[in-house]
Protein backbone atom coordinates (compact mmCIF):
# COMPACT_ATOMS: atom_id res chain seq x y z
CA UNK A 1 0.00 0.00 0.00
CA UNK A 2 1.27 3.42 -0.95
CA UNK A 3 1.45 6.37 1.37
CA UNK A 4 -1.23 8.87 0.37
CA UNK A 5 -0.38 11.56 2.89
CA UNK A 6 3.12 11.92 4.29
CA UNK A 7 3.70 14.27 7.18
CA UNK A 8 7.29 14.94 8.10
CA UNK A 9 8.68 16.77 11.08
CA UNK A 10 5.68 19.10 11.36
CA UNK A 11 5.98 21.86 14.01
CA UNK A 12 3.90 24.84 15.00
CA UNK A 13 4.30 27.27 17.84
CA UNK A 14 1.74 29.81 19.09
CA UNK A 15 3.49 32.41 21.19
CA UNK A 16 5.15 30.33 23.89
CA UNK A 17 2.98 27.28 23.31
CA UNK A 18 4.40 24.46 21.22
CA UNK A 19 1.18 23.19 19.74
CA UNK A 20 2.76 20.60 17.45
CA UNK A 21 6.34 19.33 17.73
CA UNK A 22 8.28 17.44 15.07
CA UNK A 23 5.34 15.26 14.17
CA UNK A 24 5.70 12.65 11.43
CA UNK A 25 3.19 10.06 10.24
CA UNK A 26 1.61 8.80 7.07
CA UNK A 27 -1.82 7.75 5.89
CA UNK A 28 -1.83 4.81 3.51
CA UNK A 29 -4.24 4.45 0.66
CA UNK A 30 -7.58 2.88 1.51
CA UNK A 31 -7.07 2.92 5.27
CA UNK A 32 -8.38 4.76 8.29
CA UNK A 33 -5.81 6.37 10.54
CA UNK A 34 -7.03 7.43 13.97
CA UNK A 35 -5.50 10.43 15.71
CA UNK A 36 -6.08 10.34 19.45
CA UNK A 37 -4.75 12.09 22.50
CA UNK A 38 -5.87 13.94 25.61
CA UNK A 39 -7.65 17.30 25.36
CA UNK A 40 -5.27 20.00 24.19
CA UNK A 41 -2.85 17.51 22.64
CA UNK A 42 -2.92 19.50 19.39
CA UNK A 43 -5.05 17.21 17.25
CA UNK A 44 -7.20 19.90 15.65
CA UNK A 45 -4.07 22.03 15.15
CA UNK A 46 -2.60 19.17 13.11
CA UNK A 47 -5.70 19.25 10.90
CA UNK A 48 -5.41 23.01 10.56
CA UNK A 49 -1.78 22.61 9.47
CA UNK A 50 -2.64 19.95 6.91
CA UNK A 51 -5.48 22.08 5.55
CA UNK A 52 -3.57 25.29 5.32
CA UNK A 53 -5.63 27.13 7.93
CA UNK A 54 -2.24 27.77 9.57
CA UNK A 55 1.14 27.52 7.91
CA UNK A 56 3.54 25.27 9.82
CA UNK A 57 6.76 26.73 11.23
CA UNK A 58 8.69 23.69 10.11
CA UNK A 59 8.16 20.41 8.35
CA UNK A 60 6.57 19.18 5.18
CA UNK A 61 3.22 17.80 4.10
CA UNK A 62 3.15 15.69 0.92
CA UNK A 63 -0.10 14.55 -0.58
CA UNK A 64 0.02 12.01 -3.40
CA UNK A 65 3.62 12.99 -3.88
CA UNK A 66 2.90 16.74 -4.20
CA UNK A 67 4.19 19.20 -1.64
CA UNK A 68 1.15 20.94 -0.17
CA UNK A 69 2.88 22.50 2.85
CA UNK A 70 1.31 25.82 3.77
CA UNK A 71 -0.94 26.07 0.71
CA UNK A 72 -4.12 28.12 1.17
CA UNK A 73 -7.10 26.04 2.34
CA UNK A 74 -8.91 26.23 -1.00
CA UNK A 75 -5.85 24.96 -2.85
CA UNK A 76 -5.50 22.05 -0.45
CA UNK A 77 -9.15 21.21 -1.07
CA UNK A 78 -8.48 21.17 -4.83
CA UNK A 79 -5.80 18.54 -4.26
CA UNK A 80 -8.53 16.23 -2.97
CA UNK A 81 -8.20 16.65 0.75
CA UNK A 82 -11.59 17.36 2.35
CA UNK A 83 -12.40 18.05 5.96
CA UNK A 84 -15.20 18.32 8.48
CA UNK A 85 -15.11 20.79 11.34
CA UNK A 86 -15.33 19.85 14.99
CA UNK A 87 -17.85 22.65 15.48
CA UNK A 88 -20.24 22.32 12.55
CA UNK A 89 -20.06 25.19 10.07
CA UNK A 90 -23.06 24.80 7.78
CA UNK A 91 -24.08 27.52 5.32
CA UNK A 92 -27.12 28.17 7.47
CA UNK A 93 -29.33 29.89 4.91
CA UNK A 94 -28.68 27.41 2.13
CA UNK A 95 -30.50 24.15 1.66
CA UNK A 96 -28.89 20.82 2.42
CA UNK A 97 -28.46 20.19 -1.30
CA UNK A 98 -26.92 23.62 -1.95
CA UNK A 99 -24.47 23.10 0.90
CA UNK A 100 -23.28 19.92 -0.74
CA UNK A 101 -23.22 21.43 -4.23
CA UNK A 102 -20.66 23.90 -2.90
CA UNK A 103 -18.53 20.97 -1.78
CA UNK A 104 -18.91 19.21 -5.11
CA UNK A 105 -18.32 22.30 -7.21
CA UNK A 106 -15.10 23.44 -5.66
CA UNK A 107 -13.57 20.18 -4.52
CA UNK A 108 -11.10 17.88 -6.19
CA UNK A 109 -12.95 17.47 -9.47
CA UNK A 110 -13.95 21.12 -9.84
CA UNK A 111 -17.26 20.03 -11.36
CA UNK A 112 -19.61 22.28 -13.33
CA UNK A 113 -22.89 23.08 -11.55
CA UNK A 114 -25.13 20.47 -13.17
CA UNK A 115 -22.78 17.58 -12.51
CA UNK A 116 -22.03 18.91 -9.04
CA UNK A 117 -25.72 18.58 -8.25
CA UNK A 118 -25.52 14.87 -9.03
CA UNK A 119 -22.45 14.37 -6.87
CA UNK A 120 -24.14 16.32 -4.09
CA UNK A 121 -27.27 14.14 -4.27
CA UNK A 122 -25.15 11.01 -4.01
CA UNK A 123 -23.34 12.35 -0.97
CA UNK A 124 -26.58 13.39 0.69
CA UNK A 125 -28.01 9.93 0.08
CA UNK A 126 -24.90 8.25 1.44
CA UNK A 127 -25.25 10.01 4.80
CA UNK A 128 -29.01 9.44 4.83
CA UNK A 129 -30.25 13.01 4.55
CA UNK A 130 -32.06 12.51 1.24
CA UNK A 131 -35.46 13.31 2.71
CA UNK A 132 -34.17 16.72 3.88
CA UNK A 133 -32.65 17.80 0.55
CA UNK A 134 -34.53 21.09 0.40
CA UNK A 135 -34.50 21.89 4.12
CA UNK A 136 -32.40 24.86 5.19
CA UNK A 137 -29.24 23.77 6.97
CA UNK A 138 -30.24 25.89 9.98
CA UNK A 139 -33.35 23.74 10.43
CA UNK A 140 -31.42 20.48 10.94
CA UNK A 141 -30.80 18.90 14.34
CA UNK A 142 -27.26 18.64 15.66
CA UNK A 143 -27.01 15.08 14.37
CA UNK A 144 -28.35 16.28 11.02
CA UNK A 145 -25.81 19.09 10.87
CA UNK A 146 -23.01 16.63 11.64
CA UNK A 147 -24.14 14.44 8.79
CA UNK A 148 -24.42 17.47 6.53
CA UNK A 149 -20.86 18.43 7.43
CA UNK A 150 -19.78 14.97 6.33
CA UNK A 151 -21.89 14.97 3.17
CA UNK A 152 -20.52 18.35 2.13
CA UNK A 153 -16.94 17.09 2.44
CA UNK A 154 -17.83 13.86 0.63
CA UNK A 155 -19.54 15.65 -2.24
CA UNK A 156 -16.11 16.91 -3.24
CA UNK A 157 -15.21 13.24 -3.96
CA UNK A 158 -11.99 13.63 -2.02
CA UNK A 159 -9.09 11.19 -1.97
CA UNK A 160 -8.55 11.77 1.73
CA UNK A 161 -11.15 12.81 4.27
CA UNK A 162 -10.23 14.47 7.56
CA UNK A 163 -12.90 13.89 10.18
CA UNK A 164 -12.75 16.02 13.31
CA UNK A 165 -14.91 14.45 16.01
CA UNK A 166 -17.88 13.60 13.85
CA UNK A 167 -19.29 11.41 16.63
CA UNK A 168 -19.20 14.03 19.40
CA UNK A 169 -22.63 15.07 20.61
CA UNK A 170 -24.49 12.17 19.00
CA UNK A 171 -26.64 9.65 20.87
CA UNK A 172 -25.80 5.93 20.74
CA UNK A 173 -28.21 5.18 17.90
CA UNK A 174 -26.82 8.03 15.82
CA UNK A 175 -23.26 6.97 16.63
CA UNK A 176 -23.97 3.44 15.41
CA UNK A 177 -25.35 4.87 12.20
CA UNK A 178 -22.43 7.26 11.69
CA UNK A 179 -19.91 4.47 12.20
CA UNK A 180 -21.70 2.52 9.47
CA UNK A 181 -21.47 5.53 7.17
CA UNK A 182 -17.74 5.94 7.83
CA UNK A 183 -17.14 2.28 6.98
CA UNK A 184 -19.10 2.68 3.75
CA UNK A 185 -16.97 5.69 2.83
CA UNK A 186 -13.75 3.78 3.48
CA UNK A 187 -15.01 0.82 1.45
CA UNK A 188 -15.74 3.14 -1.43
CA UNK A 189 -11.99 3.80 -1.62
CA UNK A 190 -11.66 7.09 0.26
CA UNK A 191 -8.92 7.12 2.87
CA UNK A 192 -9.68 8.68 6.22
CA UNK A 193 -7.76 10.50 8.91
CA UNK A 194 -9.94 10.94 11.97
CA UNK A 195 -9.82 12.57 15.38
CA UNK A 196 -12.13 10.99 17.89
CA UNK A 197 -12.64 10.92 21.63
CA UNK A 198 -14.89 7.88 21.67
CA UNK A 199 -12.26 5.20 22.21
CA UNK A 200 -14.47 2.27 21.47
CA UNK A 201 -15.44 3.71 18.11
CA UNK A 202 -12.00 4.76 16.97
CA UNK A 203 -10.35 1.54 18.11
CA UNK A 204 -12.77 -0.53 16.08
CA UNK A 205 -12.74 1.74 13.00
CA UNK A 206 -9.04 2.53 12.62
CA UNK A 207 -6.48 0.45 10.81
CA UNK A 208 -3.71 2.27 12.62
CA UNK A 209 -3.58 4.79 15.43
CA UNK A 210 -1.31 7.71 16.20
CA UNK A 211 -1.31 8.97 19.79
CA UNK A 212 -0.53 12.63 20.33
CA UNK A 213 0.43 14.18 23.65
CA UNK A 214 1.42 17.82 24.15
CA UNK A 215 1.83 18.19 20.42
CA UNK A 216 4.32 15.31 20.00
CA UNK A 217 3.81 11.75 18.87
CA UNK A 218 3.65 9.44 21.85
CA UNK A 219 2.96 6.15 20.13
CA UNK A 220 1.87 4.65 16.84
CA UNK A 221 0.66 1.23 15.82
CA UNK A 222 -2.26 -1.12 15.43
CA UNK A 223 -5.16 -0.35 17.76
CA UNK A 224 -4.38 -3.33 19.96
CA UNK A 225 -0.70 -2.39 20.26
CA UNK A 226 -1.49 1.18 21.18
CA UNK A 227 -4.08 0.15 23.74
CA UNK A 228 -1.52 -2.01 25.47
CA UNK A 229 1.24 0.61 25.45
CA UNK A 230 2.01 1.66 29.06
CA UNK A 231 3.17 5.11 27.87
CA UNK A 232 -0.21 5.75 26.31
CA UNK A 233 -2.04 4.63 29.42
CA UNK A 234 0.23 6.89 31.46
CA UNK A 235 -0.53 9.90 29.30
CA UNK A 236 -4.21 9.41 29.86
CA UNK A 237 -3.92 9.10 33.64
CA UNK A 238 -5.51 12.53 33.92
CA UNK A 239 -8.54 10.86 32.37
CA UNK A 240 -9.35 8.08 34.87
CA UNK A 241 -11.99 6.44 32.75
CA UNK A 242 -9.63 5.94 29.86
CA UNK A 243 -8.01 2.69 30.87
CA UNK A 244 -11.43 1.19 31.40
CA UNK A 245 -12.57 2.45 28.06
CA UNK A 246 -9.56 0.81 26.44
CA UNK A 247 -10.29 -2.49 28.18
CA UNK A 248 -13.88 -2.38 26.99
CA UNK A 249 -12.73 -2.12 23.45
Amino acid sequence: MNALLEVENLSKQFGGLRAVQALSFEVREGTILGLIGPNGAGKTTVFNLLNGVFAPDEGQVRFRGADITGLAPFRVARHGLARTNQIVQPFANMTVLENCVVGACFGRENLPLARAREAAREAVTLVGLEDRLDALASQLTIAGKKRLELARALAARPTLLLLDEVLAGLNPVEIERMIGIIRTIRDSGISILMIEHLMQAIMSLSDRIVVLNSGAKLAEGLPAEVAADPMVIGAYLGDPGFVDKLRES
Binding site: P73, A77, Q89, F91, V101
Partner: protein, 321 residues
Protein backbone atom coordinates in the same frame (compact mmCIF):
# COMPACT_ATOMS: atom_id res chain seq x y z
CA UNK B 1 -30.19 28.34 -21.26
CA UNK B 2 -30.97 31.47 -19.29
CA UNK B 3 -33.67 32.37 -21.83
CA UNK B 4 -35.75 29.41 -20.77
CA UNK B 5 -36.08 30.59 -17.18
CA UNK B 6 -39.28 32.49 -16.32
CA UNK B 7 -37.35 34.99 -14.25
CA UNK B 8 -35.44 36.17 -17.28
CA UNK B 9 -38.73 37.17 -18.85
CA UNK B 10 -39.71 39.05 -15.69
CA UNK B 11 -36.53 41.11 -16.12
CA UNK B 12 -37.35 41.65 -19.78
CA UNK B 13 -40.85 42.83 -18.83
CA UNK B 14 -39.46 45.34 -16.31
CA UNK B 15 -37.09 46.77 -18.89
CA UNK B 16 -39.86 46.96 -21.49
CA UNK B 17 -42.10 48.80 -19.03
CA UNK B 18 -39.34 51.32 -18.35
CA UNK B 19 -38.80 51.79 -22.06
CA UNK B 20 -42.42 52.17 -23.09
CA UNK B 21 -44.09 54.04 -20.20
CA UNK B 22 -42.53 57.49 -20.70
CA UNK B 23 -42.63 57.21 -24.49
CA UNK B 24 -46.42 57.20 -24.38
CA UNK B 25 -47.41 60.83 -24.80
CA UNK B 26 -43.79 61.99 -24.54
CA UNK B 27 -44.06 62.14 -20.73
CA UNK B 28 -40.86 63.93 -19.73
CA UNK B 29 -41.77 64.24 -16.07
CA UNK B 30 -42.23 60.48 -15.79
CA UNK B 31 -38.99 59.93 -17.69
CA UNK B 32 -37.00 62.08 -15.26
CA UNK B 33 -38.41 60.15 -12.32
CA UNK B 34 -37.61 56.84 -14.02
CA UNK B 35 -34.05 57.99 -14.78
CA UNK B 36 -33.42 58.14 -11.07
CA UNK B 37 -35.17 54.84 -10.50
CA UNK B 38 -32.99 53.22 -13.17
CA UNK B 39 -29.85 54.63 -11.53
CA UNK B 40 -30.94 53.36 -8.12
CA UNK B 41 -31.75 49.92 -9.55
CA UNK B 42 -28.38 49.76 -11.29
CA UNK B 43 -26.48 50.74 -8.15
CA UNK B 44 -28.53 48.49 -5.85
CA UNK B 45 -28.31 45.43 -8.11
CA UNK B 46 -24.56 45.78 -8.34
CA UNK B 47 -23.90 46.40 -4.67
CA UNK B 48 -26.13 43.42 -3.98
CA UNK B 49 -23.58 41.12 -5.58
CA UNK B 50 -21.00 42.03 -2.99
CA UNK B 51 -23.33 42.89 -0.08
CA UNK B 52 -26.07 40.33 -0.54
CA UNK B 53 -24.13 37.47 -2.12
CA UNK B 54 -20.64 37.71 -0.65
CA UNK B 55 -21.71 39.39 2.61
CA UNK B 56 -19.26 42.29 2.44
CA UNK B 57 -20.59 45.74 3.37
CA UNK B 58 -19.38 48.28 0.86
CA UNK B 59 -20.21 51.72 2.22
CA UNK B 60 -18.29 53.39 -0.56
CA UNK B 61 -19.73 51.75 -3.67
CA UNK B 62 -20.54 55.18 -5.05
CA UNK B 63 -16.84 55.61 -5.80
CA UNK B 64 -17.39 53.47 -8.91
CA UNK B 65 -20.26 55.65 -10.09
CA UNK B 66 -18.29 58.83 -9.49
CA UNK B 67 -15.04 57.64 -11.03
CA UNK B 68 -16.90 56.27 -14.04
CA UNK B 69 -18.52 59.66 -14.43
CA UNK B 70 -15.18 61.41 -14.24
CA UNK B 71 -13.44 59.12 -16.70
CA UNK B 72 -16.18 59.38 -19.32
CA UNK B 73 -16.79 63.10 -18.94
CA UNK B 74 -13.07 63.80 -19.06
CA UNK B 75 -12.56 61.65 -22.17
CA UNK B 76 -15.42 63.42 -23.91
CA UNK B 77 -14.46 66.96 -22.96
CA UNK B 78 -10.67 66.85 -23.04
CA UNK B 79 -10.10 64.21 -25.72
CA UNK B 80 -13.32 64.50 -27.75
CA UNK B 81 -14.11 60.79 -27.48
CA UNK B 82 -17.56 59.78 -28.69
CA UNK B 83 -20.08 58.93 -25.96
CA UNK B 84 -20.11 55.15 -26.43
CA UNK B 85 -16.34 54.79 -26.40
CA UNK B 86 -15.99 57.08 -23.40
CA UNK B 87 -18.59 55.07 -21.47
CA UNK B 88 -17.00 51.70 -22.18
CA UNK B 89 -13.53 53.03 -21.45
CA UNK B 90 -14.81 54.47 -18.17
CA UNK B 91 -16.34 51.14 -17.19
CA UNK B 92 -13.20 49.20 -18.03
CA UNK B 93 -10.88 51.66 -16.30
CA UNK B 94 -12.95 51.72 -13.11
CA UNK B 95 -13.25 47.93 -13.05
CA UNK B 96 -9.50 47.61 -13.40
CA UNK B 97 -8.96 50.14 -10.64
CA UNK B 98 -11.47 48.32 -8.45
CA UNK B 99 -9.54 45.10 -8.99
CA UNK B 100 -6.40 46.80 -7.70
CA UNK B 101 -8.19 48.31 -4.69
CA UNK B 102 -10.01 45.04 -4.11
CA UNK B 103 -6.86 42.94 -3.97
CA UNK B 104 -5.73 45.25 -1.17
CA UNK B 105 -8.75 45.87 0.98
CA UNK B 106 -10.45 42.51 0.51
CA UNK B 107 -7.85 40.98 2.76
CA UNK B 108 -9.89 42.67 5.47
CA UNK B 109 -13.05 41.21 6.83
CA UNK B 110 -16.24 42.42 8.47
CA UNK B 111 -16.11 45.89 9.94
CA UNK B 112 -12.50 46.42 8.91
CA UNK B 113 -13.49 46.01 5.29
CA UNK B 114 -16.55 48.23 5.72
CA UNK B 115 -14.46 51.01 7.26
CA UNK B 116 -11.85 50.77 4.54
CA UNK B 117 -14.49 51.23 1.84
CA UNK B 118 -15.39 54.59 3.40
CA UNK B 119 -11.69 55.38 3.36
CA UNK B 120 -11.42 54.51 -0.33
CA UNK B 121 -14.36 56.72 -1.29
CA UNK B 122 -13.25 59.69 0.80
CA UNK B 123 -9.64 59.26 -0.22
CA UNK B 124 -10.54 59.17 -3.91
CA UNK B 125 -12.83 62.19 -3.50
CA UNK B 126 -10.11 64.16 -1.74
CA UNK B 127 -7.67 63.13 -4.46
CA UNK B 128 -9.97 64.14 -7.30
CA UNK B 129 -10.67 67.47 -5.59
CA UNK B 130 -6.94 68.17 -5.88
CA UNK B 131 -6.39 66.62 -9.28
CA UNK B 132 -5.70 69.33 -11.85
CA UNK B 133 -6.58 67.51 -15.10
CA UNK B 134 -10.05 66.78 -13.73
CA UNK B 135 -10.64 70.37 -12.70
CA UNK B 136 -9.92 69.94 -9.00
CA UNK B 137 -12.73 71.08 -6.77
CA UNK B 138 -14.54 72.95 -9.55
CA UNK B 139 -14.90 69.80 -11.61
CA UNK B 140 -15.56 69.54 -15.34
CA UNK B 141 -18.26 71.30 -17.33
CA UNK B 142 -19.36 69.86 -20.66
CA UNK B 143 -20.03 72.04 -23.65
CA UNK B 144 -23.62 71.83 -24.94
CA UNK B 145 -22.06 71.13 -28.34
CA UNK B 146 -21.38 67.59 -27.15
CA UNK B 147 -25.12 66.87 -27.35
CA UNK B 148 -25.15 67.66 -31.08
CA UNK B 149 -24.05 64.22 -32.34
CA UNK B 150 -27.10 62.77 -30.53
CA UNK B 151 -29.45 65.14 -32.32
CA UNK B 152 -29.53 68.09 -29.94
CA UNK B 153 -30.25 68.30 -26.19
CA UNK B 154 -33.91 67.26 -26.27
CA UNK B 155 -33.26 64.13 -28.25
CA UNK B 156 -30.02 63.40 -26.40
CA UNK B 157 -31.94 63.15 -23.12
CA UNK B 158 -34.06 60.38 -24.61
CA UNK B 159 -30.99 58.57 -25.90
CA UNK B 160 -29.38 58.81 -22.48
CA UNK B 161 -32.54 57.55 -20.86
CA UNK B 162 -32.69 54.48 -23.09
CA UNK B 163 -29.03 53.76 -22.54
CA UNK B 164 -29.54 53.99 -18.78
CA UNK B 165 -32.50 51.65 -18.96
CA UNK B 166 -30.29 49.29 -20.95
CA UNK B 167 -27.60 49.45 -18.26
CA UNK B 168 -30.28 48.78 -15.66
CA UNK B 169 -31.45 45.72 -17.60
CA UNK B 170 -27.89 44.48 -17.95
CA UNK B 171 -27.40 44.93 -14.22
CA UNK B 172 -30.41 42.75 -13.49
CA UNK B 173 -29.33 40.11 -15.99
CA UNK B 174 -25.79 40.13 -14.62
CA UNK B 175 -27.02 39.89 -11.05
CA UNK B 176 -29.25 36.97 -12.04
CA UNK B 177 -26.64 35.19 -14.16
CA UNK B 178 -24.07 35.48 -11.37
CA UNK B 179 -26.50 34.11 -8.83
CA UNK B 180 -27.26 31.06 -10.97
CA UNK B 181 -23.60 30.38 -11.71
CA UNK B 182 -20.94 28.43 -9.95
CA UNK B 183 -19.19 31.72 -9.24
CA UNK B 184 -22.37 32.96 -7.55
CA UNK B 185 -22.64 29.81 -5.49
CA UNK B 186 -19.10 30.37 -4.28
CA UNK B 187 -19.97 33.97 -3.38
CA UNK B 188 -23.05 32.89 -1.46
CA UNK B 189 -20.93 30.36 0.42
CA UNK B 190 -18.43 33.10 1.27
CA UNK B 191 -21.31 35.25 2.49
CA UNK B 192 -22.54 32.52 4.79
CA UNK B 193 -19.24 31.34 6.21
CA UNK B 194 -16.01 32.35 4.54
CA UNK B 195 -13.76 29.93 6.44
CA UNK B 196 -15.97 26.96 5.69
CA UNK B 197 -16.15 28.02 2.05
CA UNK B 198 -12.35 28.14 1.80
CA UNK B 199 -12.05 24.69 3.37
CA UNK B 200 -14.39 23.35 0.70
CA UNK B 201 -12.20 24.77 -2.04
CA UNK B 202 -13.85 28.09 -2.89
CA UNK B 203 -10.98 30.34 -4.09
CA UNK B 204 -12.06 33.11 -1.75
CA UNK B 205 -9.44 35.82 -2.46
CA UNK B 206 -9.94 35.61 -6.22
CA UNK B 207 -13.73 35.45 -6.06
CA UNK B 208 -13.96 38.45 -3.76
CA UNK B 209 -11.66 40.53 -5.95
CA UNK B 210 -13.57 39.56 -9.08
CA UNK B 211 -16.98 40.40 -7.63
CA UNK B 212 -15.70 43.71 -6.30
CA UNK B 213 -14.38 44.58 -9.73
CA UNK B 214 -17.45 43.23 -11.54
CA UNK B 215 -19.78 45.25 -9.32
CA UNK B 216 -17.89 48.37 -10.43
CA UNK B 217 -18.39 48.00 -14.19
CA UNK B 218 -22.04 48.87 -14.82
CA UNK B 219 -22.27 51.54 -12.08
CA UNK B 220 -19.27 53.23 -13.68
CA UNK B 221 -21.05 53.33 -17.04
CA UNK B 222 -24.22 54.55 -15.34
CA UNK B 223 -22.10 57.27 -13.74
CA UNK B 224 -20.79 58.28 -17.16
CA UNK B 225 -24.34 58.57 -18.51
CA UNK B 226 -25.66 60.35 -15.47
CA UNK B 227 -22.99 63.04 -15.46
CA UNK B 228 -23.10 63.39 -19.23
CA UNK B 229 -26.77 64.14 -18.76
CA UNK B 230 -26.02 66.75 -16.06
CA UNK B 231 -23.30 68.18 -18.34
CA UNK B 232 -21.03 68.77 -15.36
CA UNK B 233 -19.34 66.79 -12.61
CA UNK B 234 -17.95 67.87 -9.25
CA UNK B 235 -16.37 65.83 -6.45
CA UNK B 236 -19.18 66.17 -3.86
CA UNK B 237 -21.82 65.04 -6.39
CA UNK B 238 -19.72 62.26 -7.82
CA UNK B 239 -18.67 60.73 -4.51
CA UNK B 240 -21.81 61.44 -2.49
CA UNK B 241 -21.56 59.12 0.50
CA UNK B 242 -25.25 59.65 1.15
CA UNK B 243 -26.22 58.16 -2.21
CA UNK B 244 -23.83 55.33 -1.48
CA UNK B 245 -25.57 54.52 1.74
CA UNK B 246 -29.03 54.98 0.27
CA UNK B 247 -28.00 52.24 -2.12
CA UNK B 248 -27.52 49.93 0.82
CA UNK B 249 -30.88 50.99 2.27
CA UNK B 250 -32.50 50.20 -1.06
CA UNK B 251 -30.89 46.77 -1.34
CA UNK B 252 -31.85 45.90 2.23
CA UNK B 253 -35.38 47.22 1.77
CA UNK B 254 -36.00 44.93 -1.17
CA UNK B 255 -34.12 41.98 0.25
CA UNK B 256 -30.36 41.59 -0.01
CA UNK B 257 -29.16 38.47 -1.75
CA UNK B 258 -32.20 38.22 -4.02
CA UNK B 259 -32.16 39.46 -7.60
CA UNK B 260 -35.59 41.07 -7.69
CA UNK B 261 -35.34 42.56 -4.18
CA UNK B 262 -32.88 45.39 -4.82
CA UNK B 263 -34.79 46.39 -7.95
CA UNK B 264 -38.08 46.38 -6.09
CA UNK B 265 -36.54 48.28 -3.19
CA UNK B 266 -34.95 50.81 -5.53
CA UNK B 267 -38.17 51.46 -7.37
CA UNK B 268 -40.27 51.85 -4.21
CA UNK B 269 -37.64 53.97 -2.50
CA UNK B 270 -37.37 56.29 -5.48
CA UNK B 271 -41.15 56.66 -5.66
CA UNK B 272 -41.30 57.31 -1.93
CA UNK B 273 -38.49 59.83 -2.18
CA UNK B 274 -40.18 61.61 -5.05
CA UNK B 275 -43.37 61.82 -3.09
CA UNK B 276 -41.61 63.03 0.06
CA UNK B 277 -39.77 65.75 -1.84
CA UNK B 278 -43.00 67.18 -3.23
CA UNK B 279 -44.89 66.96 0.03
CA UNK B 280 -44.48 70.26 1.93
CA UNK B 281 -44.37 68.61 5.35
CA UNK B 282 -41.90 65.88 4.55
CA UNK B 283 -39.56 67.52 2.09
CA UNK B 284 -36.98 68.09 4.82
CA UNK B 285 -37.30 64.62 6.20
CA UNK B 286 -36.06 62.42 3.38
CA UNK B 287 -33.10 61.24 5.43
CA UNK B 288 -35.22 60.68 8.51
CA UNK B 289 -37.62 58.50 6.57
CA UNK B 290 -34.75 56.54 5.01
CA UNK B 291 -33.24 56.04 8.45
CA UNK B 292 -36.43 54.89 10.13
CA UNK B 293 -37.09 52.56 7.22
CA UNK B 294 -33.63 51.04 7.42
CA UNK B 295 -33.75 50.65 11.19
CA UNK B 296 -37.11 48.90 11.00
CA UNK B 297 -35.85 46.51 8.32
CA UNK B 298 -32.64 45.65 10.15
CA UNK B 299 -34.37 45.08 13.47
CA UNK B 300 -37.58 43.42 12.39
CA UNK B 301 -37.32 42.16 8.80
CA UNK B 302 -33.70 41.49 7.87
CA UNK B 303 -34.91 39.63 4.76
CA UNK B 304 -36.50 42.81 3.40
CA UNK B 305 -39.61 42.87 1.23
CA UNK B 306 -38.65 39.71 -0.60
CA UNK B 307 -38.24 37.97 2.75
CA UNK B 308 -41.77 39.00 3.67
CA UNK B 309 -43.16 37.94 0.30
CA UNK B 310 -41.44 34.56 0.52
CA UNK B 311 -42.89 34.07 3.97
CA UNK B 312 -46.40 34.91 2.77
CA UNK B 313 -46.19 32.87 -0.44
CA UNK B 314 -43.41 30.29 -0.18
CA UNK B 315 -44.15 29.20 -3.74
CA UNK B 316 -42.75 32.50 -5.02
CA UNK B 317 -39.29 31.13 -4.32
CA UNK B 318 -39.55 28.79 -7.25
CA UNK B 319 -39.64 31.49 -9.92
CA UNK B 320 -38.93 34.88 -8.29
CA UNK B 321 -35.24 34.93 -7.54
Amino acid sequence: MILRRPFFWIIAAIVAAFAIAPAIGDNIELRESLVLAAVYITLASNINMILGYAGYVNFGSIVFFGLGGYFSVWLMSAHAWPLAAALVAGGVAVSALALVFGLGILRLRGVYFALSTIGVNEGVMAFVANFGPWGGSTGIYLSPALFQPLGGPAKALWVIYYLLVGIMGLSLVLSYAVKRSKFGLGLLAIGQNEDAAALLGVPTPRYKAIVYSLSAFLPAIAGGLYFFKSAYIQPPDAFDLQLSTETIVVAMLGGQGTVAGPALGAFLYEELRGWLLTSPTFSHFQLVVAGVLLLAIVLFAPGGLMGLLYRLWPRLRSFLE
